[in-house]
Amino acid sequence: MITLLIIASIALAILLLLSLLFVLRAPSYADCILTTQLVGTIGVAILALLSVIQDQPYLLDVALVLALLTSITIVTFTQLRGKSQ
């Protein structure tokens, strides 16, 4: 089972790489913020998988902080963009 979970986390890392390549040719500002949300969600999933694979429960705390920071980042950048117009 651990092997299959490692394969799942590697596949999630490949999806993360694809979404980061999408940022390089993102058509608009909102697409970059969207990719931030995708990276946050995939990062939380990878950290939850790693906490089970390595049997380290503190990685769940890291996942919690990552989820919180992603939402704060998105709120901040949308509000900054709205004010500058």
Binding site: A8, T41, A45, V52
Partner: protein
């Protein structure tokens, strides 16, 4: 592999499928709002399936509660942030294309 391991693997692979669907939607969809639609639905479903799959593998009850808390936080923040991004996109589109004068005369 016992029953809980098979349960975990099935749910994790289902979550991986939804993550793949969300990423392909982000890369392939033509419009910003349709990309937003693909991300905010498919990814949260994938994360939820992965959390359900990982729950029986955790060692203590507090870790399970923490994982459920992470899932709830991601769902809550994704709903709020998708609303913010969509309102910003609509504002920018309305700034680019000004309202036709016939609406104002009525």
């Amino acid at each position: 592999m016992n029953v809980t391991d098979i349960f975990s693997v099935i749910f994790c692979l289902a979550g991986l499928f939804f993550f793949c669907a969300g990423t392909v939607g982000l890369i392939r969809f033509p419009d910003v709002l349709s990309r937003l639609h693909a991300l905010t639905k498919a990814d949260n479903l994938g994360l939820g399936l992965m959390v359900i799959g990982l729950l029986p593998q955790l060692s203590s009850l507090t870790d399970g509660l923490k994982l459920m808390l992470v899932w709830g936080l991601v769902i809550f923040s994704s709903a709020a942030c998708s609303y913010l991004i969509a309102s910003q996109v609509i504002n920018e589109q309305s700034l680019k294309t000004p309202a036709p004068p016939s609406v104002e005369s009525k």
